[in-house]
């Protein structure tokens, strides 16, 4: 693997950039691997990287039906934060945040983790109560998150409209300064490059047809478009397609897949210094390093794999942005797109062992999987390598849906009165 640095860049510039090596070779499947990971997104590639780097397991294949990083890794709005309410969630996402801090150096690949701060807007008394609960809980969990008045929020994010006569006035905000964004493609590419350099095979355009189980019920490999691949351990990290893949192993999952839309504006000079989220108004916005305003929309109401999404949702999303940021009304939407997110009943992920020997799953991240990428990858690798969950992902079992021990962040922010 060529070490990347300012020096290597300079050296290659002088030779006309003709000597750069490929990030990862285009692998064809071998007959057998110790571990097969289904899904070459950030989570799956990262798991392969950590299997190789931290557990010495290098006979690993990551296979994907399309091109690597082409699913939700390359379709999200790149928000990274860890200010979750429940201890289980806060630890999970903060573990990821700790890994984000050093990821560029670790991978020798600049993933452009930008700690620009995530501001979550409160619009009513209920929001304030909910955010205060988050802030107090985060403080005692060692997670950075603090309360700002409306004026302080505006000072932190000048485009914000804090007029008290707005339909949804901003009454304050929770700020996690350590939170921010990263370059989504670079995360997939950096992990792919790092994993490949340690011997992992990355096999693209190779749909998995079925997970095959032996007579004793244990996993023995995967049938793919490129033939059968033997493996005693299979980890499924396939986001929206998890239900379909798991069905082939005879497992029905508590998952539903919904189209989630996002959009960007035309690029403008820097005006938006942080990430702003408003759950009440449904507005999620930041500005990319290219200058585009990156805006998250919601999920369409129906289950779908179409990656199409309708116009009404976009209308509502853009209206919400203009409500909170009226200065952007004359900006233009450049592009909108859809991804397919897999959602569990409690909107928390499932990360752990399945009731089938040799089968592991990492799914159910819903609309928030990008921020967890290094953490999920790290914990999935641990769980696969040791055949037992790490204490951080131990609560995120499939069994919780039987016993009732749900981790329901969304319900905790529920609005009623």
């Amino acid at each position: 693997m060529t070490h990347y640095s300012a020096f290597s860049l300079l050296k290659n510039a002088l030779s006309g950039h003709k000597n750069w090596r490929e990030h990862w070779p285009d692998a064809q499947p071998k007959a057998e691997y110790d571990v097969v990971i289904v899904g070459a997104g950030g989570h799956g590639l990262g798991a392969a990287y950590y299997l190789a780097k931290e557990h010495g397991i290098t006979n690993v294949a990551v296979i994907d039906k399309g091109w690597l990083g082409g699913g939700n890794t390359g379709r999200n709005t790149t928000i990274i934060r860890s200010n979750y309410l429940y201890d289980e969630s806060a630890r999970l996402y903060d573990h990821a945040l700790d890994l984000w801090e050093d990821l560029s150096q670790d991978l020798n690949y600049n993933v452009m983790y930008s700690k620009r701060g995530v501001l979550m807007l409160a619009h009513n008394v209920h929001d304030v109560q909910s955010f205060q609960r988050h802030i107090h809980s985060n403080r005692l969990n060692g997670v950075d998150n603090r309360w700002l008045s409306a004026a302080e929020a505006k000072a932190f994010c000048p485009p914000l409209n804090i007029a008290p006569d707005a339909r949804y006035p901003v009454v304050g905000a929770a700020l996690q300064k350590r939170a921010g964004t990263a370059r989504h493609d670079a995360v997939a590419w950096g992990y792919a490059r790092g994993a490949a350099a340690r011997g992992v095979d990355i096999i693209q355009n190779c749909p998995v047809i079925a997970i095959r189980r032996g007579p004793d019920g244990a996993v023995i490999g995967v049938d793919t478009a490129k033939g059968f691949i033997k493996a005693k351990k299979v980890a499924v990290s396939a986001a929206g397609n998890t239900s379909v893949v798991m069905q082939s192993a005879g497992l029905r999952m508590p998952l539903e897949s919904y189209p989630l839309q996002a959009l960007v504006s035309e690029p403008i000079k820097p005006i938006f210094p942080c990430v702003v989220m408003s759950n009440t108004v449904h507005a999620y916005i930041s500005q990319s390093d290219k200058g585009e305003l990156v805006i998250g929309s919601g999920t369409d109401q129906y289950v779908s794999y179409s990656q199409r999404g309708g116009l009404p949702l976009i209308e509502h999303t853009v209206a919400a942005i203009c409500e909170v940021f009226p200065i952007f009304s004359r900006m233009r939407m450049l592009r909108k797109w859809g991804g397919i997110v897999d959602v569990t009943p409690d909107r928390s992920p499932i990360l752990g062992k399945m009731p089938v020997k040799g089968l592991y799953v990492n799914c159910g991240w819903g609309t928030g999987g990008f921020k967890a990428t290094p953490g999920a990858a790290h914990l999935l690798a641990w769980t696969v390598a040791r055949d037992e969950p790490h204490p951080i992902n131990a609560p995120f079992t499939l069994e919780r849906f039987t016993t009732g021990r749900l981790i329901d962040e969304a319900a905790a922010a529920a609005v009623a009165h």
């Binding site: 300012a6 006309g16 150096q105 690949y109 969990n141 949804y168 009623a416």
Partner: protein, 999 residues
């Protein structure tokens, strides 16, 4: 100003009407009908912008909405500035202020152009490889530096004073594109009687006919035929023509979104007119007749101002009467540019040479060129250009057997290029229709359709006006057939048509070091051919990876000019055929669409409705402060002169506990449940027993989800054996009704029950306090309100203050209380009658804050505040509300799950702080051991916390692990800087025995 490049009397602009605007502060004169780009060109100005990465000087390259270079900031006064406007689409208007972008200090001298010199050190993807060391520099130095370089234009900084509109439209046939194919389709569909809509993004409908006046159709000049066709269409009542209207996206089941621009071209803004209108069109059939977009050629220096598409030069000439130079050279791989060159020559422009990369060119073209005195260089390549702010020369070389010969230099002030044409299939791609590579056309053409649509003309690879007309007529007739119309397929006699063909080129061959060439593919993003090859070398094999690594196709034209050139070069680098590499997906919108149009009517107060009660206006007049609760606004508290919230609430609380208070409870959800099986239905829905509840009595009802967690609560009154008045939380009304309907319709359709939402039918006034009965009694006719006759939890239909009413004796405060429901239209009158009557009894109005305090003093929960979607009835201390004898109700089974019956669940308790003056923060976390390190083990949190005026101290409610086993225990609440202590109690602070209700 002289407009030296304007050809008098030529083009479709109104030469009698000068229009003045400014560009970078300099006054420029154009003609009515000009775009900013054509007006600048008429004045000899090619330099219109700077590129994104290298800040290279750029001129206009196209004449349409695909323009990547000539992006300007446009303004018409305060609040009306917008960046990144395509100069080729913005029509000139009097007083328009236009400015160039991405330059400092000026367009002709831009410091940022240093990046151009450093280009070799910052190839595609360079930032992934560096800026990592020293580590601390990333946050402080590198990242802010990278971010500072972002963007093209400047953001607006003021709120937008304009408003926007939206409409729905249904039609039989929607035709997108008003060129010859679209017009022929509209004529065919229109003549059949089908409801037809034709939209075109340009100010003027006509498409390529506007740029090809030399063609003759049915014996008429193209422009005469166009005028006649439009006139005919305008006479048809079933046809709607829409110009300045862009079809932005093609959605499910033939819904097409349109954005119509209404005022940006007007000198004076009409009073009250919307700036743009979003149309949601549902069409029976869609005809896509969007034509094709010309491709640039890829060679070193193909981006200098003055280098532009040949078709654009033709459009500027014919539509706007503007010659793009005095001495032009042409480089092409397609026949079409030859015709453009001939037209320029006819208009008096010196055409220095036509360079064609093909060795073989139709003799008819070369002969014509020679006749016009144009030098013809077939089998040649272009290997460079010169000129800093405007092209000055072009270097051309012969190519023989793949070898590039010696170059020579040709002087020119404009260089026209044509790399062939790309069919516009963006909207078709939105439908997930598939494309197939057509080797003969050298283009992707439509393959499998997923929606009810027809593609006509150049969109499916048919070149020339005759073919477009005939195919358009076919498509229009076919589309009209679907709704059962019969349409004739027209034939058209066309003379002077310009069909043609060409070859698809990758970057042009050169005799120079290709590694040093700046042969641009994506002009705006400064992506060169060698960037594409570098990406492939670095292992980017998917076209999506190439796109994302190089940013090719991600500029504001979304790859309209760059995608195919990028693909051909990537395919070459990969050693594959173009179709094997594939195409990136086109996403809506077709061209960038303003946020204002997308948000349209949802602006300001219309963003979402505000629901107000019948009594809201009284509260406002009385000076109430309001709070939003779901879509409602509710009176929060009623401050008197000099009172802050704390003082006002304390006074309101005192009044309720000692005299009487009035509260507007109208926002509570109300559902009428009627029918012989109404009680059975409620038995199954709610946790409580209902069968034995007598008419005239009410009961607190608790509703769970099937997962066993509390969803809603409210008092339910039985008015008759088959009639219940159900109340819900303010925010839960719609959800509860939906849930009830779901079970009733799909699980228990055998039950004879009707559900009706009555939330808005009743206005509700709560009277709470020891004087409540005294106040109410005189207003109630013929009813004994004594505790014996009308006890706590009784309900009756009666007359109050002369209005028909449902009267409940209920208390959410622990005081003697009544809730009077009257038809909403009488709400205000009832309120005022009670207010008048209450003057003798010390009545005060109180708001939601006081309501919250008073109920907390009694330990009554607020769903959503003291519960959070993970709380069971037992957790909330509401186990008593579960009908013990019931075998089933919604959620019952879940309450038996292992982790729901496990010990240690969080339970609702009261908390009393050691320091009675300290009011805990709602949301504060509770620990057993305050001395543990972080992360601490938290055992609960404060759900409600208030100053209790009745007790003269603070009170709180909290969810605490195993809380009911901790009575009397002191717990700790670590706050920033100090840790508070509080004792666990029963959550019932005032009148725990309920004596005040028994009066």
């Amino acid at each position: 100003m002289s407009q030296p490049f304007r050809i008098a009397g030529h083009g479709r602009v109104d030469h009698a009407q000068p229009v003045r605007f400014t560009f970078d502060g300099r006054t420029v004169e154009g003609r009515r009908g000009d775009t900013v780009a054509s007006a600048l060109l008429a004045n000899g100005i090619h330099l219109m912008g700077r590129s994104f990465k290298y800040h290279r000087p750029r001129g206009v390259v196209s004449a349409g909405s695909e323009e990547p270079n000539a992006l300007i900031g446009t303004s018409r006064g305060p609040g009306r500035f917008e960046p990144n406007t395509r100069a080729t689409m913005q029509e000139v208007r009097q007083g328009l202020t236009a400015e160039s972008q991405n330059k400092w200090p000026s367009l002709s001298f831009d410091v940022g152009a240093i990046n151009d010199r450093l280009g070799r050190f910052i190839p595609a993807g360079f930032y992934y490889k560096t800026f990592k060391w020293p580590r601390s520099f990333w946050d402080k130095v590198y990242e802010p530096f990278i971010r500072q370089a972002a963007g093209l234009g400047k953001s607006p900084t003021e709120a937008d004073p304009d408003h926007y509109a939206s409409r729905h439209l249904h039609c039989d046939v929607l035709i997108v594109g008003g060129g010859p194919a679209g017009l022929a389709a509209a004529l065919a569909a229109g003549q059949s009687g089908a409801e037809t809509v034709l939209v075109d993004e340009q100010a003027e409908i006509g498409g390529t006919l506007l740029s090809e006046p030399g063609v003759r159709i049915e014996g008429q000049g193209a422009w005469d035929w166009l005028a006649a066709a439009l006139a005919e269409l305008r006479t048809m009542p079933n046809v709607r023509l829409m110009s300045r209207t862009t079809a932005i996206g093609y959605y499910h089941q033939n819904m097409v979104g349109l954005c119509e621009r209404l005022t940006d071209h007007l000198d004076v803004l009409p009073e009250g007119a919307p700036r743009e209108r979003l149309w949601r069109v549902r069409a029976g059939q869609v005809v896509l007749a969007q034509g094709a977009i010309e491709k640039p050629l890829v060679f070193d220096g193909n981006d200098r101002p003055g280098v532009m598409l040949a078709g654009a030069a033709q459009t500027f000439l014919h539509r706007f009467g503007v010659k793009v130079g005095n001495r032009v050279a042409v480089v092409t791989s397609h026949d079409s540019a030859w015709h453009g060159a001939f037209d320029l020559a006819h208009a008096g422009v010196k055409v220095a040479a036509i360079v064609d990369v093909r060795a073989e060119v139709p003799r008819v073209l070369t002969a014509r060129a020679e006749a016009l005195g144009i030098e013809v260089l077939t089998g040649h390549t272009v290997t460079g250009t010169t000129g800093r702010l405007r092209v000055a020369t072009v270097r051309v070389n012969p190519v023989q057997g793949g070898r590039v010969g010696a170059g020579r230099t040709i002087a020119c002030d404009a260089l026209l290029m044509c790399g062939g044409w790309t069919p516009s299939l963006h909207l078709f791609s939105h439908t997930k229709g598939s494309l197939a590579w057509d080797a003969e056309a050298g283009a992707f053409l439509p393959d499998r359709k997923t929606e009810e649509c027809e593609i006509a003309g150049a969109g499916r690879g048919l070149w020339g006006v005759a073919a477009a007309l005939e195919d358009g007529a076919r498509a229009g007739a076919a589309a009209a057939k679907a709704p059962g119309r019969v349409a004739g397929v027209g034939t058209f006699a066309v003379e002077g048509d310009r069909t043609g063909s060409g070859v698809v080129a990758k970057e042009l061959p050169t005799d120079r070091d290709a590694g040093l060439a700046k042969a641009f593919i994506d002009f705006q993003n400064d992506v060169t051919a060698k960037d594409i090859r570098l990406a492939v070398r670095e292992g980017m094999r998917s076209i999506e990876h190439v796109k994302r690594y190089t940013t090719n196709g991600m500029a504001t034209d979304q790859g309209k000019l760059s995608n195919i050139n990028g693909l051909m070069i990537a395919a070459d680098a990969l050693g594959k055929e173009a179709p094997a590499v594939g195409l990136t997906t086109f996403r809506p919108p077709y061209t960038p669409t303003t946020f204002g149009a997308l948000a349209n009517l949802r602006k300001g107060r219309h963003f979402e409705v505000t629901r107000r009660t019948a009594i809201d206006a009284w509260a406002e007049a009385t000076g109430a402060v309001f709070e939003p609760v779901s879509l409602w606004r509710r009176a929060w508290y009623f401050p008197q002169a000099g009172e802050d919230m704390h003082k006002a609430v304390a006074r309101e609380c005192r009044a309720v506990r000692t005299a009487v208070g009035m509260f507007d409870a109208s926002t509570l959800g109300k559902i009428e449940v009627m029918g012989p099986d109404a009680a059975t239905f409620l038995e199954r829905m709610y946790t409580n027993p209902w069968a034995k509840l007598q008419p005239g009595r009410c009961r607190y009802g608790l509703l769970l989800g099937e997962d066993g967690f509390i969803r809603d609560d409210g008092v339910i009154g039985r008015l008759a054996a088959d009639k219940f008045h159900v109340t819900t939380t303010t925010g839960g009304a719609a959800r509860v009704l939906n849930m009830m309907e779901d079970y009733l319709q799909t699980e228990w359709p055998d039950l004879d029950v009707w559900l009706t939402s009555t939330t808005e039918q009743w206005a509700v006034v709560a009277l709470q306090g020891p004087n409540a009965r005294k106040l109410l009694e005189p207003l109630v006719e013929g009813l004994d309100l004594s505790d014996d006759a009308f006890p706590h939890m009784a309900v009756v239909e009666c007359t109050v203050a002369g209005f028909p009413a449902r009267l409940f004796r209920v208390s959410f405060t622990g005081e003697l209380g009544f809730e009077v429901n009257v038809p909403a239209r009488h709400g205000r009158a009832l309120w005022e009658a009670l207010w008048q009557a209450g003057q003798a009894h010390g009545v005060v109005p109180y708001g939601t804050e006081t309501m919250h305090v008073l109920r907390a003093e009694k330990g009554f929960i607020i769903v959503g505040q003291d519960t959070d979607g993970t709380v069971t009835p037992q957790d909330a201390g509401l186990g008593w509300a579960i009908g013990k004898a019931k075998t089933d109700f919604v959620g019952k089974r879940s309450l038996a799950r292992p982790d729901i019956v496990a010990k240690g669940r969080k339970q609702l308790v009261g908390l009393l702080t050691e320091d009675p003056a300290v009011v805990l923060e709602e949301g504060a976390q509770i620990v057993a051991d305050p001395n543990q390190p972080i992360p601490m083990t938290m055992i609960g949190h404060v759900t409600s916390s208030y100053w209790s005026e009745a007790l003269g101290r603070s009170i709180a409610m909290a969810l605490v692990e195993g809380g009911r086993d901790r009575m009397g225990e002191v717990l700790h609440i670590p706050m920033p800087g100090r840790t508070l202590r509080a004792k666990v109690t029963v959550p019932n602070f005032v009148d725990p025995d309920g004596q005040k209700l028994k009066v």
